[in-house]
Symmetry: C2
Subunit: 254 residues, 2 copies
Amino acid sequence: MNTAVTQKSPQISRLADISAAKPIEKIEAVDTKSRILDAAEELFMEHGFEATSLRLITTAANVNLAAANYHFGSKEELFQAVFTRRLDPMNRDRVTLLSAYEAAASANPKINPLTCEKIISAMFIPALKMARDQEQGGKNFLRLLGRAYADPAPFIREFLSSQYAEMLGRFRAAFGRALPHIPREEVSWRLHFVMGALSFTLAGTDVLKMIAQFHPNEVENDELLLKRLAPFLAAGLRAPVGSAGDDHQWFNEA
Amino acid sequence: MNTAVTQKSPQISRLADISAAKPIEKIEAVDTKSRILDAAEELFMEHGFEATSLRLITTAANVNLAAANYHFGSKEELFQAVFTRRLDPMNRDRVTLLSAYEAAASANPKINPLTCEKIISAMFIPALKMARDQEQGGKNFLRLLGRAYADPAPFIREFLSSQYAEMLGRFRAAFGRALPHIPREEVSWRLHFVMGALSFTLAGTDVLKMIAQFHPNEVENDELLLKRLAPFLAAGLRAPVGSAGDDHQWFNEA
DNA sequence: GCTCATTTAAAACGACTGTTTGAAATTATC
DNA sequence: GATAATTTCAAACAGTCGTTTTAAATGAGC
């Protein structure tokens, strides 16, 4: 015998223990469908898609296991239902707000120009509204959304892509008009970076937060957080495109 | 009987089909340990941690199932081994490069000032080097790393946190010195945003890429990609902190 | 009260999971 | 070449998984 590695004696389940799931928590919606959605939202946020079993969800929701498949068909469809419930209206609000800004700018360009800050606020305000309105569920969903961006499952990525297609198209066009001196392709990339910083921040589960000396005792609210993010992103969007001199200096001096 | 939802007739496995795994692919390392690491790196990147089974990994690596547990102890320890193999030297290179810049700046502040661009390049150059050196594995790992940032599994987050602690502390201090007019806490947040845009970009699996009209036929290399990212981040880091006027204007005009 | 569609309940299905075991094969050491 | 340490192998273990099935309970319309 031997040991290339000291083996752990007992088999410890890595997944959330279903026997430790409290049958009744704060899931208080009346109908079964909503109870399942609420529990799924919280548990998917906490453990991720693959690591969250239907038994864990239905136990937390205090409903029968078969109810999940009965009402939603499959686990994937339940996952999508969790998203559409909140993402659909949020992205609709974003497009509506952007349209309002565009109309105001069109009517009176001198007074209400469509600045980068305006466009960014059209993306953030609906997200903020959701985080504030449904006190618990809204924040859970934002964290879940931030994580879903990086999930490798193809069905998640295809689903999110279809959900975001219209909104992102509108905002890319708006940024393009607000930044006429920047090439269209560069604008696409910067919108890409904006989404990255945004989703990373909304997910709120990054490595930085677990390291000491990073705002140790202060509990930031989402509003203050996005007020920090906004100037950062606006400045990045307006930055001069990298000159040839910078490009060559960058990677050859080390 | 009835149907609240049209049921899918057969049970289709959502996970990667092990029967479809090719026993021999391009995993050509000689020793079993490296073969497992190479296969695990690629499959974890492709399917995520939970959705990747040890049987899938060992089949792709063309080794026996028990070899994974024999050499690494557990699936979690295998996952961590995949990371330490590349992340450890990469972060060491980053700190070394930053130290070199700091020494040069200290010796001759007028000629070699420690600018934001310098510090950013100390983060990017080692990542670029890895992406170029090991042609396939390096890129795979960067995508895996970007996804791991958002993974909800506690052991992943704690592991990454410990791996990044020293490096991030050094870079936060460096940014603080390079941006003396910006409050320390604001610097921490902006480093946070930088990491978000960076990991999102390195992951390369975001929603934007799947939407039409986004660089449809051009295959960007990582070098050009980071040349686009750098000016964006540097401008954001140097942005004036949000004034009180901006703050109040932001969220109350909708 | 009866009929009918809708919803809930308990139990089982087949498949897949990480891990362990004990013997065979291989490699190194003397 | 014999002995010992290391590595590989096939097989099994004890669970959990998503899903389906069957029957019981519930509700509405008349």
